[in-house]
């Protein structure tokens, strides 16, 4: 019994030492759902995190050449796992700030119980729930991705502008599905559209044909499907097309996966559209895209530009504050202030020199200008895509 306790204690210490960066280096958390619901997005997003860390270290590191250490942790897209993982990142690895988590539910849990009490800044590149806006966060929670509130609204307006006034609404029964569906429905109905039928569905069911039959009874010929394209969304879409329940299908960004095209085949998806947050066309984006591509990443993958921005911006804030975690949140706001000199993604050495000289800088993010509002949210840019060959093709911007 005593031996067991001693063994356990030494295991904790050993694990703690293994996971703690060396003295002088600065640690940041790179948190994300490597397992769980977002596993499909994980490889490219993690690559993007690491790409930003590598650029910082290749161009002189933090301050006097200290390394920026990315402490990777898996939140499993599950609140309990996430709280456990982030507690370790914050208390064992002693990070001064973190990028992630990705799933909104995990962001809420982690912020409430770990990062806000510990005074650590959290920047999520993928947590889109409107509820994150309302967190009482002492200005410690930011995001580089816009809230679904915006996406729901612009999607509703775009559909109405394209002449669709009656839709059926089907969404996955989780935070993402419900949040986006509610935002969409509110705007769509307010602007004169009709939601003829609405139903949530559980993930992981064998068949959704009966659910679809119920939805189709409402008489709409367009189905708005808020789901993930490598999960139940794929089954719903396939069964609906096979049985001609609807003529046109519109999905959120969760449906924008190549798995959908690969499995169903592009010739069957002529009437399938997806909305997705896009990085505003900018020089920043091109710089990031070519750099990320040559580092072996896919710049068109979902949320890679927001992931990159989260890490790069955090590194800039650390450089400016010397790693004092109480000042990072104020620094984040200064760094995107339009008045300073422009910094593109990857221009770490230039930014470092400007900061050393005490000059103001303005980071132009790969995903947009990152003008944080009072809640730490950014306005979004969205576009509508359709299937062309093996990939998605831009149709129109959504306003």
């Amino acid at each position: 019994m005593r031996n067991t306790v001693l063994g356990m204690a030494s295991l904790i210490v050993a694990a703690g030492v293994a996971a703690t960066p060396a003295q002088a280096d600065v640690g940041i958390g790179l948190v994300g759902g490597i397992t769980g619901g977002t596993a499909a997005l994980a490889p490219e997003m993690m690559k993007s995190y690491q790409f930003a860390v590598k650029q910082v270290n290749d161009q002189g590191g933090i301050k006097n050449g200290e390394k920026l250490i990315g402490v990777v942790a898996d939140d499993g897209c599950n609140a309990q796992t996430g709280v456990d993982a982030v507690t370790k990142v914050v208390n064992v690895s002693q990070v001064v700030g973190m990028a992630g988590p990705w799933c909104s539910g995990v962001v809420l849990a982690v912020a409430n119980s770990v990062t806000i009490p510990a005074g650590v800044v959290l920047i999520t590149p993928a947590g889109t729930s409107p509820q994150i806006t309302a967190l009482k966060d002492n200005d410690l929670v930011f995001r580089t991705v816009p809230s679904d509130e915006y996406q729901g609204q612009v999607l509703a307006r775009t559909l109405l502008a394209r002449g669709t006034t009656k839709v059926a609404l089907s969404f996955i029964n989780n935070d993402y599905g419900k949040g986006l569906a509610d935002a969409f429905q509110k705007e769509f109905v307010a602007k004169g559209g009709t939601v003829a039928a609405r139903a949530a569905h559980e993930e992981n069911r064998a068949s959704y044909r009966t659910d679809l039959a119920q939805l189709a009874k409402g008489g709409a010929d367009t189905l708005v499907l808020i789901d993930y394209g490598d999960s139940s969304g794929l089954t719903v879409l396939r069964e609906s097309i096979e049985n001609d329940f609807f003529k046109t299908y519109v999905g959120g960004e969760g449906m924008k996966t190549t798995a959908t095209i690969k499995t169903i085949g592009s010739k069957n998806l002529a009437n399938f559209y997806v909305s997705s947050p896009v990085s505003e066309k900018s020089q920043s984006l091109e710089v990031f895209a070519s750099g990320f591509k040559s580092a072996g990443g896919d710049p068109n993958a979902t949320f890679v530009s927001t992931s990159y921005d989260a890490v790069f911006l955090l590194a800039l804030a650390i450089e400016q504050t010397g790693g004092d975690k109480t000042k990072i949140s104020a620094a984040l706001r200064n760094l995107v202030d339009a008045a300073g000199e422009s910094i593109m993604p990857g221009e770490w050495a230039k930014a470092k020199a400007l900061i050393a000289a005490g000059k103001p800088i303005s980071y132009k993010g790969a995903s947009g200008t990152l003008a944080f509002d009072a809640n730490g949210d950014v306005p979004g840019a969205y576009a509508l895509f359709k299937v062309n060959g093996d990939d998605f093709q831009f149709v129109t911007d959504m306003k």
Binding site: A39, A200, S207, D211, A213
Partner: protein, 290 residues
């Protein structure tokens, strides 16, 4: 709602789902009859079988249908190996210990699938299969195949159990293992044979589930509850009961959206299970009460 859309969108999907549950329930009921414990790794064994089909068809270029027999043998051997490694030495202990052990085996099987294939959704065939119109009935080719093959498997199993030497031995052991042993039946061989059959049935149910939907690591775990509901509803130890139970659970599940919110559709099997336990714990065909 008119009669044809009722049949097309509620009855036919129900029958397909029911056939898949039935295959699983036969396996559950066989384990109950011969080994006398609940086998919670059943769903994940089905997942394993479904991924074996994927493995063999991808590596050899065979069609998934042709790969099914190989995968069935692989899953059967896996079941025998699991029994030999994890269950054999628990046989003298109370049966419930084996049930707990099977919960651990379920986790291990799932982990193996996730290590090798990840958690992404895969499928046997790409493209879509539009249903053909048979006098107003909209049926997809693989749905016909599913039902025909399930019927074929069940008939073959019945013939085997009723007329072959080993089938009779299995039935004898189900009735009374000690007596069977006294009559010169080698219990160990019968047990191995049972696991072979159970593994093969699991592979088949996993394959048909994957064929009609997608192949993913949690697919089997998700059908565990309706499968057990089907076995218990039909009467534990009764094969014809498992088939009828599977069909009832499948059809009820698909029809449930007519009366309840679709979020709760998943629970139909559970409600049937509760009702069966309350009203007729022996099941429709008077199985064993355990």
């Amino acid at each position: 709602m008119d009669i044809s859309s009722f049949i097309n969108f509620f009855l036919i999907p129900g029958i397909i789902l029911g056939s898949i549950y039935a295959l699983g329930a036969i396996g559950v009921t066989l384990v109950y009859a011969i080994m006398r414990h609940g086998h919670f790794a059943h769903g994940d064994l089905a997942t394993f079988g479904a991924f074996m089909v994927l493995l063999f068809s991808a590596s050899s270029g065979l069609s998934p249908y042709a790969a099914l027999p190989i995968a069935a043998v692989a899953a059967g051997l896996m079941a025998i190996a699991i029994d030999w490694l994890f269950y054999t030495h628990l046989r003298t202990l109370p049966k419930i210990i084996t049930t707990i052990s099977s919960l651990g085996v379920a986790l291990m099987l799932r982990a193996v699938v996730q290590i090798f294939w990840g958690v992404n959704t895969l499928s046997y065939e790409t493209g879509i299969a539009r249903p053909e119109n048979w006098f107003g009935l909209r049926i997809k080719p693989h749905e016909v195949v599913t039902v025909v093959m399930v019927i074929g498997l069940v008939v073959a199993l019945e013939i085997f159990l009723r007329h072959s030497k080993w089938g009779k031995a299995m039935r004898a052991m189900s009735d009374n293992p000690d007596l069977a042993s006294l009559c010169g039946i080698d219990n160990r061989k019968v047990i191995a044979l049972t696991w072979m059959l159970v593994g093969a049935l699991c592979a088949a149910s996993g394959f048909f589930l994957g064929l009609n939907t997608q192949v993913k690591s949690l697919m089997g775990w998700n059908i565990l509850l309706p499968t057990f509901a089907a076995a218990i509803l039909g009467g534990v130890g009764r094969i014809e009961g498992a088939i009828l139970g599977g069909l009832i659970v499948g059809i009820c599940e698909e029809m449930s959206v007519l009366v309840i919110r679709s979020e709760y559709k998943v629970l139909s099997g559970f409600v049937i299970l509760l009702l069966a336990l309350l009203i007729r714990p022996t099941g429709l065909f008077r199985g064993k009460v355990l």
